[in-house]
Symmetry: C2
Subunit: 146 residues, 2 copies
């Protein structure tokens, strides 16, 4: 057994993503307090559709770093809530395009405000330079680990 146990112990925090979990929990709680009965994972899908409506499930996999099965079931649940619908692509009949319903649109501003407020609280006292470094490190760790 090598003797750099402390180093590994610290790095485990990075693996675990403790801070991002804390932010996710806080955002989830803020949603609930506002009477928005969606999960943060569902919100992450809606978030991408608000930016660009009508994405394929495969595209949602790429943009949210999830596998196909996870997206299938997330869309199932959001569809049950009546917030999105699948429409088969005419160009390629294997593909489902996912579209927001009218019911989803009013949620956008409320959740954006909650997300902004949550992030502002989470990032208090942290400089733009530090955030840039975190983003850069995350990107490189992600590329190194694919």
């Amino acid at each position: 057994m090598s003797n750099n146990q402390f180093k590994r112990g610290e790095l485990y925090s990075v693996i675990n993503g403790v801070a991002s979990t804390a932010v996710a929990r806080r955002l989830q709680k803020n949603f609930r307090n506002a009477g928005l009965e969606i999960t943060i994972e569902q919100w992450s899908i809606l978030y991408h559709l608000w930016k660009e409506d009508g994405l394929s499930q495969q595209e949602l996999c790429t943009r949210t770093y999830r596998d196909k099965a996870s997206i299938t079931r997330l869309i199932d649940n959001i569809e049950k809530l009546g917030l999105v619908e699948r429409i088969a692509s005419k160009d390629d009949r294997r593909v489902n395009m996912v579209y927001l319903t009218d019911a989803a649109k009013p949620l956008q501003e409320a959740t954006y405000n909650l997300a902004n407020q949550t992030m502002n609280e989470a990032l208090q006292g942290i400089s733009k330079e530090e955030i840039e470094i975190v983003k850069s490190v995350f990107q490189r760790v992600y590329e190194n680990s694919k």
Copy 2:
């Protein structure tokens, strides 16, 4: 709707902890390739017990940032694998102390080596200073979001 959509989009990556998820998946895969049939979540419990054997479930909650119910079931599963056992505390009969079994001890070196190797790969090209900043930012985000 405010107009800093790009900023929010980027910050969402922080919420999501994409990089740490990638590392966790890679470590999981390395465990499997080595014939170690444990999950990374189970490993995170064993990791803390290797550092200090005989922790209460509550202490494991604190150290691994999980809630009580999650720890109960994680310990259930690790107990089924025969790697830990619960022993009721004599001082306080509400408390379960969790101890490693003899079967768990040989796993320590193999998993430490895999974890080291995985982390070294993940952290290639990233300086100690950058890691310190990430750790510091994580800690402050966590404190801000509790």
